[in-house]
């Protein structure tokens, strides 16, 4: 066992390196109307998008910061909007094949293991380096099927009608302060369209990275799953370690039409100095199914509540998430399910672990509107607190405006039992290993939903985090 654990030891340095900066364009620090105009001009965007960005910027200035640091709520006071780069572009235009990707960027991906994924999957890989997607490959048969998988900037140019039809309709600029900020300065992200009845078997993958110090990353993702279609999208995040706070604020909008099926998997592992303030929302129509599989391991503070609006009869939503908060980290994550139609179903399963002074918060909403008869809702939140410095909050909001509903919510908070540890240690397992086995077991309902290589990576990360936890 011991030998295996050592072999699996994770090379954490690969998450902590930095590349020389060599950018084509980098906006100055800080946010202003001029920055937004310049950004839009550099991208050669249509007038409507510039207008939309400027409107959103005005909303961003007006909106108050959510929550207030009181009662253990996230504290966003350390976030200095004037100390962030709002737009950086590496490479002039998105590369279409691997050979065209700059050597320096390839080195970065090499160390992140992207060629690995490329070889393994021969799948569509949208890899975001800095603020724009620089590499895309899409399996040929998908193109034949009419699947569109582009970086969002290119999609605005190549799919202007579909883009304009859906952009900002699921998450309007005024939804919250960070959705407004993203709309004002968004750059990069993925655009996916899966046509009627098309099933995409191999996951669509995108890698997102932050490199430049103090650089904000504001990717914008828009995914449309047409009637009866199905797909799985995976994003994984890593970032180098820096000394000052950086901001990542994404917006992800998803439409799953009648009978469609979609799963969105995220492993978030930003460096521990990054504010990760993300708005993710999907609408699911009649008999559609939307699943968020969401792992939050990194960042200084994450605020993320993936949501599903169940708009048609028989629609189904699921959020399966884990959060891990170590020293100096606060994972404020959860889920929202809004039942707007009869016979809709939602399931929320949340597992969180806090350790070394870290804090996890489950914050969630289940809303059943009048007329959503026969809705079924099941919410389960389990928190594990590993030491006496760490904390965990559970704040579920449940609003029911319909009688014919079955809703159950269950939460537990606990520590690792001495008996469990004793049992494992009496079988010759070291305490550190025993702890990591128990934590991995606790997270297993999440990990088993991940593609194999992600599950392996997550398990390694957790094992690494568990090292030095004894003593």
């Amino acid at each position: 066992m011991t030998v295996e654990a050592n072999e699996l030891e994770f090379d954490y340095s690969k998450y902590g390196f930095r590349q020389e900066e060599n950018y084509v364009f980098k906006s100055g620090k800080g946010l202003s109307e001029d920055v937004v105009r310049e950004l839009s001009m550099m991208k050669g965007e249509p007038e409507w998008m510039l207008k939309r960005r400027l409107q959103a910027l005005a909303i961003f200035y007006k909106k108050p910061t959510p929550l207030d640091g009181a009662w253990g709520n996230p504290d966003l006071a350390a976030l200095n909007y004037d100390d962030i780069h709002y737009f950086v572009r590496a490479g002039d235009k998105p590369a279409t094949d691997w050979d065209a990707v700059p050597e320096e960027i390839k080195n970065t991906f090499e160390r992140l293991g992207i060629p690995e994924a490329e070889r393994k999957f021969l799948a569509g890989v949208g890899a975001q380096y800095e603020s724009e997607v620089v590499y895309h490959s899409l399996r040929e048969e998908w193109s034949k099927l009419g699947v569109i998988f582009l970086d969002t900037d290119t999609a605005l140019k190549e799919q202007p009608e579909m883009f304009k039809q859906y952009f900002g309709t699921i998450i309007p600029s005024a939804d919250n302060k960070y959705a407004a900020l993203n709309t004002a300065v968004w750059s990069g992200g993925s655009f996916v369209y899966v046509p009627k009845g098309v099933h995409v078997d191999i996951p669509l993958q995108a890698y997102f990275r932050i490199n430049a110090e103090n650089m904000g990353q504001f990717e914008r993702t828009l995914i449309i799953i047409d009637e009866g279609a199905s797909a799985h999208y995976i994003e994984g995040c890593t970032a180098p370690q820096y000394s000052t706070n950086s901001l990542h604020s994404a917006v992800v909008e998803i439409v799953v039409k009648k009978g469609g099926k979609f799963r969105y998997t995220t492993i978030q592992n930003w460096a521990n100095n990054i504010f990760n303030l993300v708005t993710k929302r999907a609408v699911a129509y009649e008999d559609a199914s939307m699943e968020w599989v969401d792992g939050n391991i990194g960042s200084k503070l994450t605020m993320k509540y993936p949501s599903v609006y169940l708009m048609g009869r028989g629609a189904r939503g699921e959020v399966l998430s884990v959060a891990y908060a170590g020293k100096g980290q606060h994972q404020d994550a959860g889920a929202k399910m809004v039942h707007n139609a009869p016979d809709t179903t939602s399931v929320i399963t949340n597992k969180s672990v806090s350790k070394g002074g870290g804090k996890t918060t489950y914050r969630g909403l289940v809303k059943v509107h009048p007329g959503a008869t026969g809705s079924k809702i099941n919410v389960n939140c389990d928190a594990l607190i590993l030491d006496d410095k760490s904390r965990s909050d559970t704040i579920p909001y449940i609003e029911v405006e319909e009688a014919n509903v079955t809703l159950a919510h269950e939460a537990t908070v606990g520590r690792i039992g001495e008996e469990q540890l004793f049992y494992l240690m009496s079988r010759g397992i070291s305490k550190a290993e025993a702890l990591s086995m128990i934590v991995l077991g606790f997270m297993e309902p999440f990990t088993r939903e991940l593609p194999m290589e992600y599950a392996v990576e997550l398990n390694r990360l957790i094992q690494l985090e568990m090292e030095g936890s004894v003593g």
Binding site: R391, E402, A403, L407, A408, E410
Partner: protein, 393 residues
């Protein structure tokens, strides 16, 4: 028409003085007024009191009516607050505001500045009584009730107390009740909000529980048009316990909110909460609860059950069963919450036995409330409340 104080928004220092009150209390009221003028009006998403023009409202100079429903148990001091502030100065100064500070909220501050009367109950050291004490307060139509109640149990004391708000007053009542339990004390407390349908009620009920002390708290919340009750149990002493049950019925037009806070402070504290809600017609009930386990509170056991039954499609229930846990040394912590209508299978089972549907619903709902109603210590009162709830379903 009873005399009134000036509008709430323009109360002066002189307005809150009550004739012949001791100097220490006058100072205390001024602190309340200062806090009232400084504090912001709380933003309540789920209780809306703007409808009846709070700032322009004039409080009654009249104190309301206070009576004892059953004989006071021997040895227990029971007297109106306006007398107790003269006769029990040391106890008053030590305990008034100890559980609900003058500046804890805008409404608590208003209460501190302008309370007229209330009940003072004192159980001396090691005095154990089983005879229930039933205290009732009310007020007339067109009036307000500003009431302040203080219950102090010394070390090892034991008391069974029912505090009932009853009658067709209105428009506004603001009631603060402080429950102070010394080491090893036991209080069986039933708090009943059974106001008539014209009342807008804001309540603070806060218990401070000493070492190895136990409070068995049953809350009945069926009256008023709008009610916003902030209830709090502070398990401060080591080995302190609360067994907390509640029954809420909100029917047509009613908006009833209960915000129970449970704070685990001492070591080896234990709490069981079982809150039940029935909403009917256009009734709207909210459970906005929080269990907080402080960092130093080790070996805690805490469990919350919270269930809402919907009897009509228009009714609404909100549940926010929060947990804030600042220690890992927890024995057990968790909550469960459900919402929905009466179980079809249960209904079918009973209908198959010849019971009509409405009767079956009735029986299921009464069974749902039975554990909390069973704890009302006075049989006649229990029957009265049971009948009143039954009549509304």
């Amino acid at each position: 028409m009873a005399t009134k104080l000036p509008a709430i928004a323009s109360l002066s220092a002189a307005d809150v003085l009550v004739a012949n009150e001791p100097a220490w209390l006058q100072t205390w009221r001024q602190a309340g007024l200062a806090a009232f003028n400084t504090l912001e009006m709380p933003y309540w998403r789920r209780t809306d009191l703007t409808a009846f023009g709070f700032a322009d409202m004039q409080l009654s100079a009249d104190s309301g009516t206070f009576r004892i429903g059953a004989d006071a148990p021997p040895g227990v001091v029971v007297m109106p607050m306006h007398l107790a502030v003269h006769e029990h100065v040391t106890l008053m100064q030590a305990n008034l505001g100890a559980a609900v500070a003058v500046n804890v909220s805008k409404y608590a501050a208003l209460n501190a500045a302008t309370w007229r009367d209330g009940w003072f109950v004192y159980v001396p050291k090691n005095l154990e009584t089983t005879l229930p004490l039933h205290l009732i307060q009310g007020f007339g139509a067109g009036n307000t009730l500003m009431s302040r109640n203080l219950v102090v149990l010394e070390r090892g004391a034991r008391l069974t107390l029912v505090e009932q708000l009853m009658g067709n007053g209105g428009p506004y009542s603001n009631v603060v009740t402080e429950l102070i339990l010394g080491d090893g004390a036991t209080l069986k407390y039933t708090g009943m909000q059974t106001w008539g349908s014209a009342v807008h009620h804001v309540g603070h009920v806060v218990a401070k529980v000493g070492n190895d002390a136990t409070i068995e708290w049953s809350a009945i919340n069926t009256g008023a048009l709008h009610a916003h009750i902030e209830a709090e149990t502070n398990l401060i002493g080591n080995g302190s316990r609360v067994d907390w049950m509640a029954a809420t019925v909100a029917s047509d037009g009613q908006r009833l909110l209960t915000a129970p806070w449970l704070r685990h402070v001492g070591r080896s504290t234990e709490a069981h909460m079982d809150f039940k809600t029935v909403v009917k017609g256009s009734g709207y009930a909210t459970f906005d609860g929080m269990i907080k386990i402080e960092g130093g509170s080790t070996d805690t056991i805490t469990r919350l059950e919270e269930h809402a039954l919907h009897l009509s499609p228009q009714a609404r229930s909100d549940s926010i069963p929060g947990l804030k846990i600042d220690t890992n040394n927890v024995q057990k912590a968790g909550h469960a919450s459900t919402s929905g209508e009466v179980d079809d299978e249960q209904l079918f089972y009973m209908q198959a036995r010849g019971i009509s549907k409405s009767e079956a619903v009735h029986m299921i709902v009464m069974g749902f409330f039975e554990p909390v109603l069973d704890r009302i210590p006075l049989e006649s009162l229990r029957e009265q409340v049971t009948a009143a709830i039954a009549a509304r379903i």
